[in-house]
Amino acid sequence: MTVVVQGLTYRYRRDGPAVIKNINFRIAQGEIVAVTGLSGCGKSTLCNCLCGIIPHCQGGEMSGEVLINGKNTRQFKIASLALQVGMVFQNPDTQLFSPTVEDEIAFAPENMCLEPEFIRERVDNVLALLEINEFREANPCQLSGGEKQLVALAAVLALDPPVLILDEVMSQLDSGSQKKVAAVLEKLHKQGKTIIMVEHDLETVAFTDRLMVINDGEIVRFERTESLLADRDFLTASQLLFDDDQSMNKWRTVNALSGVEPSKLFLSTTK
C-alpha cells in the first residue's frame, strides 16, 4: 500500500491562510514513518487529509490529491476507506463509545459484515497482541487515559487495515506501554503494513524508517530517522528537543523502598 500526496494544500476557510502548503511525498508499502513538528504546524490536519476526514467531514478548501494505493480519497466515503486506512485519534475520549472494550473492538469488523466467529477471532487476536485481555469486559470510560489509548488502538487494529495513521498515540502512555506499542508497531511493520505516526517525543520514534519534520504547514526535512536524529543542531534549532542533559545522574535514591534507579523503575513495571 503506497501513500502518495500530491500538491496538498488546505485552508480552513476559503480566504484564510493555508494550514498545509503544497505538500508532496510518497510513502512506500511497508514503510514506517514518523511525523513531527511544533503544535499547530499542521500535523493533525495532515492526518485528517490522509484518512479522508478532509475533504469529506470537515469544511474548508483542499486542493491536491491524496492517493492510498492509487485510490483517490476524494472518490471514496470515509467509511469505505476504513478498510484501507485505520486512524487512531489524539484524544481517546472522543473515539470510545461502546459499553465494553470487547464491543468497542468488535465495532469496526461488525461494520464490515464479517461473520461473528470471525469477529471473535479478531477481537481475541487484538487483545492478545496489545496484552489488554484483562480489560475485555471493562467499561472503556472507567479506564485510565493510557489504557483508553490502547483500547482505541486495538479498535482500529481490529479491521487490520494495511495503512495505519496514529496521531500522538504515545503521548499518554507510560514508557512501559510505549515500548509495548512500539514493539507491536514493529511487528505490524514486518507484516508489511504502512504506518504513519505523529509524535512530539522523538525518543519514541527512534525505531521508524523515516522522519518527517513539518513547520508551518511545510515539510522541512524528510529523511532517514537515524541520520535526522543525529543532526542535533537542526533539531535544537527547530525547538524539537527537550534536551535531557543526563539529568538522571543528578538523582540519588534517598529512600529507596524498592531500591531501583529511576530509569529502571519503568522497565520493572513493564511486565
Binding site: S39, S144, G146, F242, S247, L257, T269
Partner: protein
C-alpha cells in the same frame, strides 16, 4: 508541620473490586516541586483527586495544614490548593479568556478594578494577552493549559497540583512549562506534578515519588535538596 499529610490512605472505586490506592503514608511540604510518577493506571490521578477532596478516601486520613481535609469545603480547599486537571477542557467554563482568569476573584467578591489589574498581570505572565477575548475552548492544548494555570494562580493558592501537564505538548512548550514551574517554585509555592514523563520530571522536580499498583514504591530527594540551579 507538613502541608499535606496522608496516613494509611486507601481508596476503592465503587463497583470495582481492585483497590486504586492502598495504605499510602506520605507527607508533602509547602516548598519545592514534588513529582509523582508511575505507569498508566497506577493511581496517580486518583491520589491527586483525594488530595483536593474531589474523592474521599475509603480508609485513612488526609490532613491539610494539620486539619482533617473533610472539615474543609471544596471552595476552602480550592483557595489553598490550585488543581490543574489532566484535561484542561474540564476546568475552563467561561466565555472569554479574560473572564476565565477573573472568575474566581469576582465570585469571591473582588473589586472589579483590582481584579482587572490582576487579570492583566496573568495574561502578560502567561503570554495570553493576544487571546484575551477568545473563547477558551478554541485555544490550542498548550494555550488552554497556560490559561488553566493562570486562572488557578489568580486565586493565589498556597500550593499547586498539576495532573499530567505535559501530555500533548511539544518539546518547545514543554520547556516553557518547565521554566514557568521553576519560576513559580521560586515564589515559594509548593507543587505536586503528576506525570509519566520521566525526562520532564527529572528536569523540574526536587523530589520524586514513584507509584505502582496503588502503592508508593520509591521516594527520593534531589541532591542538594531544595537548592535547584536555575
Amino acid at each position: 508541620m507538613p502541608f499535606l499529610e496522608l496516613s494509611q490512605v486507601s481508596y476503592f472505586y465503587p463497583q470495582q473490586s481492585k483497590s486504586a490506592l492502598t495504605e499510602i503514608d506520605i507527607n508533602f511540604d509547602n516548598e519545592g516541586i514534588t513529582a509523582i510518577i508511575g505507569p498508566n493506571g497506577s493511581g496517580k490521578t486518583t491520589l491527586t483527586k483525594l488530595l483536593v477532596g474531589i474523592l474521599q478516601p475509603t480508609a485513612g486520613e488526609i490532613r491539610l495544614k494539620g486539619r482533617r481535609l473533610q472539615e474543609y469545603s471544596l471552595a476552602e480547599i480550592g483557595r489553598r490548593i490550585g488543581y490543574i486537571f489532566q484535561n484542561p477542557d474540564q476546568q475552563l467554563f467561561c466565555t472569554t479568556v479574560n473572564e476565565e482568569i477573573g472568575f474566581g476573584l469576582i465570585h469571591q467578591g473582588g473589586e472589579p478594578e483590582a481584579v482587572r489589574e490582576k487579570v492583566d498581570f496573568y495574561l502578560e505572565y502567561f503570554e495570553l494577552t493576544a487571546y484575551r477575548n477568545v473563547f477558551p475552548l478554541h485555544l490550542s492544548k498548550g494555550e488552554k493549559q497556560r490559561l488553566a494555570l493562570a486562572a488557578i494562580l489568580a486565586n493565589e493558592p498556597e500550593f499547586l497540583i498539576l495532573d499530567e501537564p505535559t501530555v500533548g505538548l511539544d518539546a518547545y512548550r514543554k520547556k516553557l512549562l518547565a521554566e514557568y514551574l521553576r519560576k513559580l517554585a521560586r515564589l515559594n509555592r509548593g507543587m505536586i506534578i503528576v506525570s509519566h514523563d520521566l525526562n520532564f520530571v527529572m528536569k523540574v522536580a526536587d523530589r520524586i515519588i514513584g507509584l505502582e499498583k496503588g502503592q508508593i514504591c520509591w521516594d527520593s530527594l534531589q541532591e542538594g535538596n531544595t537548592g535547584h540551579e536555575a
